[in-house]
Each structure stands twice: as structure tokens, then as C-alpha cells.
Subunit: 121 residues, 2 copies
């Protein structure tokens, strides 16, 4: 593949990270000054473990609602599983403080773990 | 789950769509006027088929580069597989014309299908 545009995560040394973690994966500024921020929400260690496919799908549906509830200060655009099944990419419109993002993600994961009953969607 | 925020895709009738297709899944406007657009890039029919996990992961890595090349007019923020393994969600900063987005996606899928050699990332 010639002239490949840069893809941030391809340059990440996945042996240097320790899951679970939240990592800023990208920040984009629009022509008018709005900021879009993308996070690597890693739940299990890359190349060591992976979340089973059905569980990942369930977590995706639960996170969709719970992340929006736990991050009221940001507009959640997308939260999608990674193909490697070790975590999720979260894209928000806005630029929340690191501590706010992290605590919101932790709260959402706790709500997912405590969820009972039907899975929405 | 009480007070669940709305999640667009949960209201989509997945029996009414015919894959492959491109669907506008969401449009978000920042306080300064920049637009973030999210697309449902569906490759196989929901509840009928699913892309094998390893293939989905490979397509994810190839699409990452090829989508950025095929959509030079938009800033690709994220392109992640769906947990149901029937397609991808694409998030761009900008509001490309429908025809441009669709032709860019088609071009990227053709490049993925024609790809030979190592998978990046």
C-alpha cells in the first residue's frame, strides 16, 4: 500500500501498554474550531486476551446507553468495538477533561457490569 | 435501564434494509458550527450473515488506510466494526456529499478486496 495515510493506532507499541486503560487516540479540530476527540478504551491486554464475540456485542449495546448517561458534558458520537476485541474506540464531539472522561468511562463500565434484564437494541 | 438516552441504531428496523448499503446514521453540529457525520457502512445482511471475526479485523486495518485515501475531502475520525459483524461505522469530521461518500466507500472496498501483501498495523 503506497502513500498510506498515517493511522495513529498502527504506531502504538501494544507491548508497552497495560490494560485496562483510557488513552487519547486522536484530537481533530474543524475549520470553525470545534473539537472531536477519540479515545482508546482498552479493557483487556492486546495480544494476550480477547473478549468473546457475543460478550463484546452485548457490551457494545449496553455501553451505547450508559456512556451517553455517564458523559453528560460531551456528545457521544460513536463507541465501537475494536476488531482485535480488546476494547472500544469512543468518539465524542467536544474535548472533555481527562479526569471527566475517565470517571465517566469507569461509571459506564460499572453500570454495564451491574446491568440486569434485557439488552437494548 | 431507565432514562436511557436515545441510540439511533436501536430504532432501525433491520429487516427493512438490504445490504450492502451506506446509510446516514447521525449528524452532529458543534457549538461553533462544525459538523460530524456518522455512517452505517453495511456489508452483509443483518441477522442473516456475519463476517468472520478474523476477516473483520483484517478489513478494519485495510479500510483504515484506504478510506482515508478514498475520502480526501473529509477527515476520517474512526471506522470501526460493528459488534454484530455485519459492517462498519464510519465517523468523519465534515459533511461530505452523499455521492462523494458512497463512491469513496466503494473505492475503498475495492482496494481492500484487491489488497495483496502484508496487512498494515
Amino acid at each position: 500500500m503506497n502513500e498510506t495515510p498515517t493511522v495513529d493506532s498502527f504506531d502504538l507499541d501494544h507491548t508497552k501498554v497495560v490494560a485496562p486503560y483510557v488513552r487519547l487516540a486522536g484530537r481533530y479540530r474543524g475549520p470553525n474550531g470545534d473539537v472531536v476527540t477519540k479515545y482508546d478504551l482498552r479493557l483487556v491486554q492486546p495480544n494476550r486476551a480477547e473478549i468473546p464475540t457475543a460478550a463484546l456485542h452485548t457490551i457494545e449495546h449496553l455501553l451505547a446507553g450508559y456512556l451517553r448517561r455517564s458523559l453528560p458534558g460531551a456528545t457521544v458520537v460513536d463507541a465501537s468495538p475494536m476488531g482485535c476485541r480488546t476494547g472500544f474506540y469512543l468518539t465524542v464531539l467536544g474535548d472533555p477533561a481527562d479526569v471527566e472522561l475517565r470517571s465517566g468511562f469507569e461509571a459506564a463500565v460499572r453500570l454495564v457490569a451491574a446491568h440486569e434484564g434485557e439488552v437494548p437494541g
